[in-house]
C-alpha cells in the first residue's frame, strides 16, 4: 500500500488527544460499594501484571483510536493493489462507429469510457498514463501525465465517431511514447474489431491488454450504395444498395428509398445468415437531390441503417481552347464536340497571355502549341510547345521517337487503341519532375504525362499532334482529348451519384484566389479550410455520416454525402482475441486492477466502527 497524500497521516495526532480526553473525560457510572478494598487490590494486580491493561482493554478507546486512524488513513489517500509502482500506461479507446452500438440501453462507448475511468482510477502515485482515441485515425487526447484530472477531462471529450477502425496508428503512437519507460503497458479498450495491427519491435515491447466491451453480434446493415448508369438509353439511373446480415438467423429487411425526402419505393430483401443481398431502385431520369436508403426496422447499430448519395444532373464542363493554328482548332474542336455537356470557348494565345482565361472561369484550358505560356492555377491540356514548368527540363528535340507503351489503366489513357501506329516526326525531350506520371512513353523519353502540383493539374503532350504527327487523324486522338478533359475537369469523378465513405477526406475545388473554403458538417458546424500553400485542399473531418456542404470557396455550393459503408465495422460481434503479429492476446472483460484508492472504504469502515462504538457505549450504559 502506498499513500497519495502522506501528510494526511498527520491526522493520527488526534489519537493521543483522544486518549487524553479518554482519561480526563471518561464518563463513569458511580456506584457505592461496601468497600473498595478488594477492587483496589484487583486493579493493582492487573496494573502490576500488564501496565497497559487499561488501555488495551478499553474497547471504546480502542475503537475511537481506530476510527481516527482510519480517517487519517483516508486523508492520506491510500492505494492498494498488485500493480507495480511507476507504471506507464497507454489507454487506447476505440471510438469507431461500432462503439455506438447500444446494448441493454447503454452504448458501447459508455462502457469503454467506464473501463478507461477504471484504468485511470487504478493509477497510483508515480504512475503515468496517456489517453488516445482511435477510429480510422488516432488522436492523442492526453499525452503522458501523472495527473488523473487531466486524463479524466480528456476522457470526457471521447465520443464515438462514425468511421471504421484502424488501431495501427494509435498503437504505434502509444508504443513510441512508452519506449524506454519503466513498466510500460497498453490497455486497449475496444469491441475487438481493430483491424490489422503493426508488428511491435522488441525494444518497444509492452504488454497489450485488450479490454473487451460489447456482447451483441446480430446486425443488419447497409454497407454500400452506388448510382449506376441506366441499362437503357434515355432511362434514369439505378440506385444500388447492399444489405448485409451479420446474425445467425436469416432476416427479411425492408429497405426504403427516398429522393429529396419523398418516398420512392420500399423493397423487402431476404438476407441469409452471415450473408448479403442487394436492393435496386430505378430512379427517374430527371431526378436530382439527396437519395437516402434506410432500413425500415432499426437495430442496435443505427449508423449503418442508412446510406445516402447525392444525385446530380449531368455535369457541364467549360473548356477554353487557346490556339493559333487552324488545324489544331479543327482537331481539338472535333474531339471536344464528341463530349456531352461541354462548352468550348476559343481564345488566341496573345489574349490569354495578356488577360488570362476571362469569364466564365474554365474548368480546363487546352493550350495548343503555346510555347512560353505560364501555367497558372487550374487544369491544362498542353498539346506541344515548350513550357516553363518548374522542375520540367527541356533537353531538346528528338525525331521519330519510338513509342514503347502506354498506361492503359489511367483514366486519361484508357480505351486508347492503335497508339503504336501513330507516327511522330518531332517531339520535345523532357526530363519530368518526380510528381509527374508518364502515360505514353517512347524510347527517347515521355511523350504524354500528367502532372499535379499544388492547385495545378496538367496533361502534357511533348509533340504537336497536328503538325508533327498523324495522331489527330486517328480515332484515339478525340478519345484522348475527351479523357483528358474529363480527368482534368473532374467530370468523371462527378458522377451522378456523389458520396464517399466517412473519414475519407473531402477534396475541395476552390476558385483561384480563394484563401479558404467553408464546409458545414452534418451537425451544422461550419469548418473553415485554408487552401493556401502547396498540396490539394482537403477537408479531413468527415467523421460523421450525413451530408457535408461546401458552402463557400468553390464556384458554387455543393453537397457531399458521407456513409459508413464499412462491412468490417458493421460486423459488431466482439472479437475475443487480439491478433498481434506473432502472438494472440486474449480479451479480458475488466480493466486489470491496478493500485486502487481505498479512502472511501476507509471512511466507510470508520463509520461502521463509529456505529459499533456507539452501540457498545449505550449497551454498557444500559
Amino acid at each position: 500500500m502506498s499513500l497519495l497524500v502522506p501528510l494526511g497521516l498527520l491526522g493520527l495526532l488526534a489519537v493521543p488527544a483522544v486518549v487524553l480526553l479518554y482519561f480526563l473525560k471518561l464518563r463513569r457510572r458511580e456506584m457505592t460499594v461496601g468497600s473498595t478494598l478488594l477492587w483496589r487490590r484487583s486493579v493493582h494486580d492487573l496494573r502490576v501484571n500488564t501496565p497497559f491493561q487499561r488501555l488495551r482493554k478499553s474497547l471504546l478507546l480502542l475503537l475511537q483510536c481506530l476510527v481516527i486512524g482510519l480517517i487519517a488513513l483516508a486523508l492520506a489517500r491510500p492505494l492498494v493493489g498488485l500493480g507495480e509502482a511507476g507504471r506507464c500506461v497507454a489507454i487506447l479507446v476505440d471510438v469507431s462507429a461500432s462503439m455506438a452500438v447500444v446494448e441493454r440501453g447503454v452504448p458501447r462507448i459508455a462502457r469503454a469510457k467506464a473501463a478507461a475511468e477504471e484504468a485511470i482510477a487504478g493509477l497510483g502515485r508515480g504512475d503515468e498514463a496517456m489517453l488516445l482515441a482511435f477510429g480510422s485515425r488516432a488522436e492523442v487526447l492526453q499525452s503522458l501525465t501523472g495527473t488523473a484530472p487531466l486524463l479524466r477531462d480528456a476522457l470526457g471529450r471521447v465520443q464515438a465517431r462514425e468511421t471504421g477502425t484502424d488501431a495501427r496508428e494509435a498503437l504505434s503512437i502509444a508504443l513510441s511514447a512508452l519506449k524506454g519507460r519503466e513498466n510500460p503497458e497498453v490497455i486497449l479498450i475496444s469491441d475487438g474489431a481493430v483491424g490489422p495491427l503493426p508488428e511491435i519491435p522488441p525494444e518497444a515491447e509492452a504488454p497489450v491488454r485488450l479490454v473487451l466491451v460489447g456482447e451483441e453480434r446480430r446486425n443488419v446493415g447497409l454497407t454500400g450504395i452506388e448510382v449506376r448508369a441506366p441499362p437503357d438509353p434515355g432511362a434514369g439511373p439505378e440506385v444500388f444498395v447492399r444489405v448485409q446480415n451479420y446474425g445467425p438467423e436469416a432476416v427479411s429487411a425492408v429497405v426504403e428509398c427516398r429522393i429529396a425526402g419523398t418516398l420512392l419505393d420500399a423493397r423487402s430483401v431476404a438476407v441469409a445468415p452471415d450473408g448479403e443481398a442487394s436492393a435496386v431502385f430505378p430512379v427517374p431520369a430527371a431526378a436530382v437531390g439527396l437519395v437516402e436508403c434506410r432500413l425500415a426496422a432499426g437495430d442496435s447499430f443505427a449508423t449503418d441503417d442508412a446510406v445516402r448519395t447525392l444525385l446530380r444532373p449531368p455535369p457541364e464542363t467549360q473548356v477554353l481552347l487557346v490556339s493559333a493554328g487552324k488545324h489544331a482548332l479543327l482537331g481539338a474542336e472535333r474531339a471536344l464536340a464528341l463530349m456531352a455537356q461541354t462548352v468550348v470557348r476559343r481564345m488566341s494565345p496573345e489574349a490569354y497571355a495578356a488577360g488570362g482565361p476571362g469569364d466564365p472561369v474554365p474548368d480546363v484550358v487546352v493550350l495548343d502549341g503555346c510555347s512560353g505560356t505560364d501555367l497558372r492555377e487550374g487544369a491544362f491540356l498542353v498539346l506541344g510547345g515548350s513550357l516553363p514548368f518548374p522542375g520540367l527540363e527541356d533537353e531538346g528535340e528528338v525525331t521519330f521517337p519510338t513509342l514503347l507503351d502506354w498506361n492503359r489503366t489511367h483514366p486519361v489513357a484508357r480505351f486508347l487503341s492503335g497508339l503504336s501506329t501513330v507516327q511522330i516526326a518531332k517531339a520535345r525531350k523532357w526530363k519530368l519532375p518526380e510528381e509527374a506520371h508518364v502515360l505514353v512513353e517512347a524510347e527517347e523519353g515521355p511523350l504524354v504525362a500528367t502532372l499535379a502540383r499544388g492547385r495545378t493539374r496538367a496533361v502534357l503532350v511533348s509533340f504537336d499532334p497536328f503538325d508533327q504527327s498523324d495522331w489527330v487523324l486517328r480515332s484515339s486522338f478525340p478519345l484522348f482529348v475527351a479523357n483528358a478533359v474529363e480527368w482534368l475537369s473532374g467530370a468523371g469523378e462527378r458522377s451522378r451519384g456523389e458520396h464517399q465513405r466517412t473519414a475519407e477526406p473531402l477534396l475541395l475545388r476552390p476558385l483561384p484566389g480563394v484563401s479558404e473554403c467553408v464546409v458545414r458538417d452534418p451537425g451544422g458546424t461550419l469548418h473553415a479550410v485554408p487552401v493556401g500553400g502547396g498540396g490539394l485542399p482537403l477537408f479531413a473531418g468527415t467523421e460523421r455520416a450525413g451530408i457535408y456542404e461546401v458552402v463557400s470557396g468553390e464556384r458554387e455550393p455543393r453537397s457531399v454525402a458521407a456513409n459508413l459503408c464499412d462491412p468490417a465495422e458493421s460486423a459488431i460481434a466482439p472479437v475475443e482475441k487480439l491478433k498481434l503479429p506473432g502472438k494472440e492476446v486474449a480479451a479480458i472483460r475488466a480493466v486489470p486492477e491496478g493500485r486502487r484508492e481505498v479512502w472511501r472504504q476507509a471512511i466507510l469502515l470508520a463509520f461502521l466502527l463509529l456505529l459499533l462504538e456507539w452501540y457498545i457505549y449505550h449497551r454498557r450504559s444500559m
Binding site: L26, R27, R28, R29, E30, M31, T32, V33, G34, S35, T36, L37, L38, W39, R40, R41, S42, V43, D45, L46, Q53, R54, K57, S58, L60, R620, S621
Partner: protein, 298 residues
C-alpha cells in the same frame, strides 16, 4: 419502619435449637449446661478429702463409717453459658440489595445475631451484644432468660450502619471489658483495611470459643456489573475507577478468595469456626443447616 427481625413461626423453630459449646466455661449463675465446677446439682461427680471449712452437709457419712475417714461428696454444677454476639455495624455492612427480603449485610447479620441470641436466652444462657465500628460503638449488657428476648431484638433493630471499620480496636475494647470466657460470635464482612488478624487474636486471648461469621452481599461475592465504573467506598468516601472486564472480575474473585480463604485458615489454625455466608442464603437455612453442620447448634 423496619420489618420485624423474626416472625413467631421462625422463633418457634428456634426453640428446638441449643447453642453448643465444645469447651466448658465457668458460668456466673446456674444454668442448663454442665460446668467444670462442682456444685449443687443432684448428679454425683466425685469424692475428695474433707478440709476444714467445708460444708459438713456434703460429708458422706456412710464412707466415714466404713473407712473412718471424712470424705466430701462432690456434685456436677449446672451453669449458664456466656454468649457474646459481636455485630460489625460499620458503613460497609450497609451494602446489599435493599429490595431483597434479607436486605443489607447488617440486617442479615442482625437477624442471625437475633436468632442466636434468642436460642441462647431460651436456654438460660447469658447473652451480650457488642456493636463494632471504629471502636465498641454499642453494648447490650448481659441478658438472660426469655424476658430479655425483646430487649435483645429492640437493641438489634436499632443498630444502624455507620463509620469506618476498625475490627482490631473494637475487638480489643470488647475483650478488655468482657473477660468472661464463653462463646463469641463475630458477625462481619471482615473487609477491614487494617486486617482482621489482630482483632481475632484479641478475642482468642480470652480463651473463648470463637465463631467468625463472614457476611457478604451477592454482588460482593459475584459482581455482575459491566462498563466503566466509579466505585465509591461507603466508609471512606474514597473512589476507585475501574473498567469492569472479565480480567478485572477474575482478579477480584482471586482477591475475595484470598480474603475468605485466609480467614478460614486463620480460624482453623486457632480452633475457631469460620463460616461464610451470603445474604441471599435464607437465615433459616443458615441456622438449621450450616450452623448445625459445623456443630454450633444442636
Amino acid at each position: 419502619m423496619p420489618a420485624p427481625l423474626f416472625d413467631s413461626d421462625f422463633m418457634k423453630s428456634l426453640e428446638q435449637l441449643t447453642l453448643v459449646s465444645k469447651k466448658l466455661f465457668a458460668g456466673r449463675m446456674k444454668g442448663e449446661r454442665r460446668s467444670k465446677s462442682r456444685g449443687m446439682s443432684v448428679e454425683f461427680a466425685d469424692y475428695r478429702d474433707y478440709a476444714l471449712g467445708d460444708d459438713p452437709r456434703f460429708i458422706d457419712w456412710n464412707v466415714y463409717g466404713r473407712l473412718d475417714r471424712l470424705f466430701l461428696k462432690l456434685f456436677v454444677e449446672e451453669e449458664d453459658l456466656s454468649v457474646s454476639l459481636l455485630l460489625d455495624a460499620s458503613a460497609s455492612m450497609g451494602f446489599g440489595d435493599g429490595s431483597a427480603a434479607t436486605g443489607t449485610k447488617l440486617r442479615y447479620a442482625a437477624r442471625v445475631a437475633g436468632a442466636l441470641g434468642y436460642i441462647a436466652l431460651a436456654n438460660l444462657d447469658r447473652v451480650t451484644v457488642g456493636v463494632l465500628g471504629e471502636g465498641l460503638e454499642g453494648l447490650l449488657p448481659s441478658a438472660r432468660g426469655r424476658r430479655d428476648v425483646f430487649r435483645l431484638f429492640r437493641f438489634l433493630e436499632a443498630v444502624e450502619p455507620k463509620g469506618k471499620t476498625d475490627l482490631k480496636n473494637a475487638c480489643r475494647a470488647y475483650a478488655v471489658r468482657h473477660r468472661r470466657r464463653g462463646l463469641v460470635v463475630l458477625l462481619s464482612d471482615f473487609m477491614d483495611p487494617g486486617g482482621y488478624e489482630e482483632a481475632l487474636r484479641a478475642l482468642l486471648s480470652r480463651r473463648v470459643e470463637l465463631v467468625c461469621l463472614q457476611v457478604l452481599a451477592p454482588d460482593e461475592a459475584n459482581p455482575t456489573v459491566v462498563g466503566d465504573m466509579r466505585l465509591k467506598d461507603s466508609e471512606t468516601e474514597d473512589h476507585q475507577d475501574v473498567t469492569m472486564s472479565a480480567d478485572l472480575r477474575a482478579a477480584y474473585g482471586r482477591n475475595l478468595a484470598a480474603l475468605t480463604g485466609g480467614l478460614r485458615s486463620f480460624c482453623l489454625e486457632r480452633g475457631a469456626i469460620p463460616i461464610l455466608v451470603t445474604t441471599d442464603q435464607p437465615v433459616e437455612a443458615l441456622l438449621h443447616q450450616t450452623l448445625r453442620s459445623v456443630g454450633l447448634l444442636a
